[in-house]
Amino acid sequence: GESVGLHLPTLSVQEGDNSIINCAYSNSASDYFIWYKQESGKGPQFIIDIRSNMDKRQGQRVTVLLNKTVKHLSLQIAATQPGDSAVYFCAEKITGNQFYFGTGTSLTVIP
């Protein structure tokens, strides 16, 4: 079946370093991907998205890279800050209105 997963369940980085969170997907027909951030006790918040006709998209301190050849998605966070500590997960649009979500990576920023 289709799957969206994260390679590492936890990630610890020093404050100021760059963070990279990875995601694998298996449906080559998926045309839209989203990264969400979920802080403890809160609902997921949109970070950045990318369409399948793009390889890279940049936001404020975040970059998403899409490699369709190996069905891989990554989220890069520049100059990671304590406020970035959260669970990050990717979502893949599998049909017109439905998304499939990964299990998440817990990012801890060490001051």
């Binding site: 045309d31 809160k42 609902g43 997921p44 997960f89 209105n97 998304f99 979500f101």
Partner: protein
């Protein structure tokens, strides 16, 4: 800003009780969704609604039903709560359009415990 609100942040119910979880969005979105989130399993879709009075089963609809009488409100109903329905429940909404590239906006979640 889009706002999705859920009626309760925390809820404790007993086995066999009927439970209502309410979700309201203020952006006139056509699509609304109910997920449950469990450790190690990610978000799993329970039901979604394309528009008023329309609903579709998601991946895990068993034990749940939904109601969408008004565009802004989507209710999740546990007809007879069981302990395995203890979970975090997340509501989301989204602009309609099968070809649209729009994210889902999530509410804060309801942590339901069934004793």
């Amino acid at each position: 800003d889009v706002k999705v609100t859920q009626s309760s942040r925390y809820l404790v119910k007993r086995t066999g009780e009927k439970v209502f979880l309410e979700c309201v969005q203020d952006m006139d979105h056509e699509n609304m969704f109910w997920y449950r989130q469990d450790p190690g399993l990610g978000l799993r879709l329970i039901y979604f609604s394309y528009d008023v009075k329309m609903k579709e089963k998601g991946d895990i609809p068993e034990g749940y039903s939904v109601s969408r009488e008004k565009k802004e409100r989507f209710s999740l109903i546990l007809e007879s709560a069981s302990t395995n329905q203890t979970s975090m429940y997340l509501c989301a909404s989204r602009i309609a359009g099968t070809g649209s590239y729009n994210e889902q906006f999530f509410g804060p979640g309801t942590r339901l415990t069934v004793l």
